[in-house]
């Protein structure tokens, strides 16, 4: 029997759990833990420059690998700084364990130095949280936390640890449990067979089917099965922003992303569909536009691991609660069975007409390439993403921040594989891209990792350039620079008659090339289209270097298509500044 202190238990439990990295920042309340990590722990610790970045890095790591990301922060400001990252992970259902230090047990509630009620502050943005009361509970609690974070609908779990429970001189028996069972938590293991049979029937009876797949397909490792199902039936597929890569982006059956900035053909096909198979998607307001007008002729089959997501916004005709893998496997089986019995299913001629219609939409308003307005020779943002796609052979991990650049990346970089597109979809957190890219690069050091960003977002966590220097994380930062907060400006152009309230920096932006040099990295600025591809290649040729490609783009470009709101339906879109459906 081994006796360990609380701090040592944490270090050992993370090893026993097979954790690859801890992202964190030390401070008073976690010093015993850090000392234990320092003395004896095989798990490397990545020292970020701000706790928000620790959570985003762990988040990026988790999204890319499918394994929970681990964060260690101190009490008070360490914990509150982590909040935005926890909320980001919560909204996008990312498995994460956050260990936060707390003041000593006897000081709790006395407004002690660096005390904050972390359990209270994080309550609405965690899947669950634990407050440690007894050191000997730590191993069991950590095991439970990993179990909760990574099963069912994944999400962040916080463990708040008072300092005195980690002190080195008080040792307890350590046994890391192999499994845990919880009477109050048991996510569905499989879908309801009767429902799946009904779904197969409805799916095969469809004349204008659509498969609408979201981030749950990626989280649940269901991409292959989804692709198999779609190909077997020759049904069109659209992905949500979170679901990009769940179905191969360059495949003919893929209609692109749907929603507010979804592709014309994807939104049109959704609106006119008679049967929607929603898998691991949650009918977010950025997808549906006005809910009352959402896809009026469609029956909805909704598969999700989280029963609370089903019929939350759009009523499902056939709800199926279960893990995407097991449900899709069973659904595929039922579809095959039904087709064996009746080879006329699905109705091929109806499907042909449906595809004809989709191809018409596709050719009428595909993705725009080239110069849209006027004759300026500025680079268009879309061209930057296309260049990134070519230079990386479409095989990079791409993280993004939030804004126009995020939408351009989502539209113009077709992802053929899951887990390659890593962005803050639900919370929309600016400052996510760079730390997330660090997490991805640490997980996959031999892969290309690009962070598509803008000069607004990058400055929200720019301090992480120092972390990248310390750990030699050679990510490539592609800065779509228009000298505006682009998405804010777009809305101000469209709804506020071009009054750019606080969306410009005037002349206050740093010289990014010099800044990169100061941080020990490489900065390249491009302002001519002719130089773009060369500079992009140069950036990726510098294998061991973080390269910041500062691309001056046309500031007047907007992201299109764009849903017309309020009161619009899926099919109501702006297609350019002066063209609408």
């Amino acid at each position: 029997m081994e006796l360990l202190s609380g701090g040592e238990m944490i270090a050992r439990a993370l090893e026993d759990e097979g954790v690859e990295y801890i992202f964190g920042y030390p401070g008073g309340a976690v010093l015993h833990i850090y000392d234990a990590l320092f003395k004896d722990c095989k798990v490397p610790h990545i020292l970020v420059r701000h706790e928000q970045a620790a959570t985003h890095a762990a988040d990026g790591y988790a999204r890319a690998t499918g394994k929970p990301g681990v964060v260690l922060v101190t009490s008070g400001p360490g914990a509150t700084n982590a909040i935005t990252g926890i909320a980001t992970a919560y909204m996008d259902s990312v498995p994460m364990l956050v260990l936060s230090g707390q003041v000593q047990s006897h000081l709790i509630g006395e407004d002690a130095f660096q005390e904050t009620d972390m359990i209270g502050i994080s309550r609405p943005i965690v899947k669950h949280s634990f407050m440690v009361k007894r050191t000997e509970d730590l191993p069991q609690m950590i095991k439970k936390a990993f179990y909760i974070a990574s099963t069912g609908r994944p999400g962040p779990v916080v463990i708040d640890i008072p300092k005195d429970l980690t002190r080195p001189d008080e040792k307890f028996e350590y046994n890391y449990p192999k499994n845990v069972k919880m009477r109050s938590y048991s996510p569905a293991q499989r879908g309801h067979t009767g429902q799946i049979k009904k779904a197969a029937k409805m799916l095969l009876a469809a004349k204008r089917p659509m498969i609408y797949a979201g981030g749950g397909v990626i989280q649940g490792d269901g991409s292959e099965l989804l692709t198999q199902l779609a190909r077997e039936l020759n049904y069109p597929v659209t992905n949500t922003l979170m679901g990009l890569g769940a179905y191969p982006g360059s495949d003919r059956q893929f209609l692109g992303m749907l929603g507010m900035h979804g592709l014309y053909e994807a939104n049109m096909a959704m609106h006119h569909s008679d049967c929607i198979l929603a898998v691991g998607a949650r009918f977010d307001d950025r997808v549906t536009n006005t809910v009352d007008k959402f896809c009026p002729g469609a029956k909805v089959i909704h598969i999700d691991i989280d029963p609370a997501t089903i019929s939350k916004i759009v009523m499902a005709d056939i709800p199926i609660v279960g893990p995407v893998q097991s449900v899709l496997t069973e659904l595929l089986g039922q579809v095959t069975l039904l087709r064996k019995k009746d080879s006329s299913l699905p109705d091929e001629s109806a499907l042909d007409r449906w595809w004809q219609q989709i191809e018409e939409w596709r050719s009428a308003h595909g993705l725009f390439t080239g110069r849209r307005y006027g004759q300026s020779d500025l680079i268009m943002p879309q061209q930057v993403i296309e260049s990134l796609y070519r230079v990386t052979d479409g095989d990079a991990y791409v993280t993004s921040d939030v804004g126009q650049h995020q939408m351009f990346a989502a539209q113009y970089y077709p992802f053929d594989e899951p887990r390659r597109w890593i962005n803050s979809g639900g919370l929309g957190t600016m400052g996510f891209g760079l730390p997330a890219a660090m997490g991805v690069k640490l997980a996959f050091p031999d892969m290309e990792v690009a962070c598509v960003t803008g000069e607004g977002s990058i400055q929200m966590n720019i301090q992480e350039l120092s972390t990248c220097n310390q750990y030699k994380t050679a990510v490539k930062i592609i800065n779509l620079r228009n000298n505006y907060l682009g998405m804010v400006k777009q809305w101000q152009d469209m709804q506020y008659e071009g009054r750019y309230a606080m969306s410009t920096y005037e002349d206050s932006l740093p010289d990014f090339v010099k800044l990169m040099e100061a941080y020990g990295h490489v900065g390249i600025q491009v302002d001519k289209l002719d130089d773009l591809e060369g500079a992009m290649k140069e950036a990726f040729a510098l294998k061991d270097k973080l390269v910041f490609l500062d691309v001056i783009i046309d500031p007047m470009e907007h992201v299109y298509p764009m849903h017309i709101a309020p009161n619009g339906s899926m099919k109501d879109m702006w297609l350019s500044k002066n063209e609408r459906t």
Binding site: P124, P307, A308, S311
Partner: protein, 163 residues
């Protein structure tokens, strides 16, 4: 429609705040709330009343069920059930009112549990409606203080909420 939702939850610190927090987070109201340990010391029984459409309540119960600390949940209003709310009410009882207060208390089958020269403290239990009616019947009297337990409820017959 008024609903009585009753649940067993882990008797853990913070469990109650998760349940209560969910209501404000998701825009629901709690009308009454009652929580206490059960015969099993590891479990608390929480009963609350709220108002909402069927769809609202379905969404709400799904969210409540998702809370890791909530072990089991039932909407008692879906079936036959017994509900009890308990009230302690302090009423000024002097002169002619003294007799009248006692008379109404008897009609409602309440008990006077504390007496002072000027004040009666009355205990009354029953459905929330009954308690409301009692308070209404005392409208003429001088009510000094009212405290209610909130609704506790249980299903009729064989049906039980247990592990």
């Amino acid at each position: 429609m008024r609903r009585i939702i009753s649940m067993l939850m882990e008797n853990e610190p913070g469990a109650l705040s998760r349940v209560v927090g969910l209501f404000s987070q998701r825009g629901y109201n709690i009308e009454t709330l009652n929580v206490a340990p059960t015969d099993d010391a590891t479990l608390s029984r929480l009963t609350l009343t709220t108002v909402g459409t069927d769809l609202h309540i379905e969404k709400l119960t799904k969210q409540l069920n998702k809370l890791v600390d909530v072990v089991k949940l039932v909407d008692l209003t879906e079936g036959a059930h017994i509900e009890r709310d308990m009230m302690l009410i302090k009423i000024r009882a002097t002169g002619a009112a003294r007799e009248e207060v006692k008379r109404v208390t008897d009609i409602f089958r309440g008990q006077i549990v504390d007496v002072s020269p000027n004040v009666y403290t009355i205990q009354l239990s029953g459905t929330s409606d009954k308690l409301d009616s009692f308070v209404a019947a005392m409208a003429e009297a001088d009510i000094l203080e009212v405290v209610r337990s909130g609704v506790a409820g249980i299903s009729r017959g064989e049906k039980v909420l247990s592990l």
